[in-house]
């Protein structure tokens, strides 16, 4: 701060304190690396994850009588039967006979909002990514609640129905597809160990452990945004970073990529909603 050091008398203790901190920091910091310290930062964040605020709001929205039909979502079938939320996320995306298509969690929630509550699809899909207390997203809250009910459950995406298999294959092709002005593909950033963009580690999605760790930690409260972000958001933002055209929310492309990545994470316990930088 300009000028503050000029007040010598009262602030000698500050200078002494600063010196003590600097001297003390030397030998100790040589032993712990920056990665260890950042790991400590991430661990310290786990206690008290603001994602819980979204989970609580989402549970309220799940049970509230809403939409033109004033009905709750409690009869929504997320794949394990009407109203069964526990463990449902670990099996998504999957084929739903009533819609005759493969759906991820977000498209399925939209489906239920339309079919049960009478919302128009446009209204249900409005504002998928919230921004501040004035522009909260209902979908993000519902996703937080539903995924929270799969915490600890092992990922178990089936490839049984022909459309599920097709979705996986399309997702795989999309993962390796290079395009846009920089000829980027998902694979460009996520094809090897120990890669990073600036200080952000990039998971190696071509390997099982990388794929598992990445998929099971979304949705997550993103500290840098102060928002809970879902997997649809993560894909949307990757497309933006690759300089691709905008990824349409709930599109088949987004579901295909989700299918590919979710299935590749099979066997790992779901660990969300998490908290990240």
């Amino acid at each position: 701060m300009p000028g503050w050091r000029k007040r010598i008398g009262g602030l000698r203790w500050v200078a002494a304190l600063a010196a003590a901190v600097c001297v003390g920091a030397g030998p100790a910091s040589a032993q712990t690396s920056a990665t260890d310290e950042i790991a400590k930062y991430r661990a310290a964040l786990q206690d008290g994850n603001p994602a819980e605020l979204w989970e609580a709001r989402g549970e309220g929205l799940w049970k509230e009588l809403r939409g033109p039909r004033k009905v709750s979502l409690e009869q929504c079938d997320l794949g394990l039967g009407a109203g069964v939320v526990t463990g449902a996320y670990a099996r998504l995306p999957k084929y739903f006979a009533d819609a005759d298509r493969v759906m991820d969690l977000e498209t399925r929630v939209v489906w239920c909002m339309v079919k049960l509550q009478g919302f128009s699809e446009a209204d249900a899909k409005r504002n998928p990514f919230g921004s501040g207390n004035d522009k909260k997203s209902d979908i993000e809250a519902l996703v937080a609640y539903i995924t929270g009910e799969s915490r600890g459950v092992k990922m178990n995406v089936a490839l049984a129905h022909p459309k599920e298999i097709e979705m996986y294959r399309v997702g795989e092709k999309l993962f390796y597809y290079r395009g846009g002005p920089h000829d980027f593909g998902c694979v460009t950033c996520h094809n090897a160990d120990n890669q990073r963009i600036r200080l952000q580690d990039l998971p190696n999605l071509t390997k099982v452990e990388g794929a598992q760790k990445a998929y099971t930690t979304w949705p997550a409260y993103r500290v840098s945004q102060g928002e809970l972000r879902t997997f649809q958001w993560r894909l949307n933002d990757c497309f933006r970073q690759q300089r691709f055209p905008e990824l349409e929310f709930g599109s088949d492309v987004s579901i295909a990529l989700t299918m590919f990545l979710a299935k590749n994470a099979n066997g790992a316990a779901f660990d969300g909603p998490a908290i990240k930088r």
Binding site: P50, L53, A56, G226
Partner: protein, 103 residues
């Protein structure tokens, strides 16, 4: 009316631990929007935690406390089934009071 807080209170021996997550923008007043206008400061100024009619923690906050604030502390006394009440008041005069049962 702001979203409810998420409060966890648990007792172990003589000590009750309180952990709370509050839903609040905690806008610093330093940021500008797309048009260059300053986004006004909007943040929790006071937090009061009571148990059995006694204040067990009183805090004054500035906008440097993180968005969606987290707070954790412990106090003596407090038994399973007791209520812990937390109130926050922000610089707009909005307030929120929630309570939790000690587990």
């Amino acid at each position: 009316m702001a979203d409810p807080m998420k409060i966890r209170a648990s007792v172990a021996g003589e000590s009750t631990e309180v952990k709370v997550l509050m839903s609040h923008e905690m806008e610093t007043g330093q940021r500008k929007d797309g048009q260059g206008a300053v986004i006004p400061a909007w943040f929790i100024q006071t937090v009061t935690v009571t148990h059995g009619g006694n204040t067990v923690l009183a805090a004054q906050w500035g906008p440097a406390v993180s968005k969606n604030p987290f707070l954790s502390f412990k106090f003596k006394g407090g038994a399973k089934g007791d209520k812990v009440t937390i109130t926050w008041v922000d610089n707009r005069g909005d307030k929120r009071t929630d309570e939790a049962t000690i587990a």
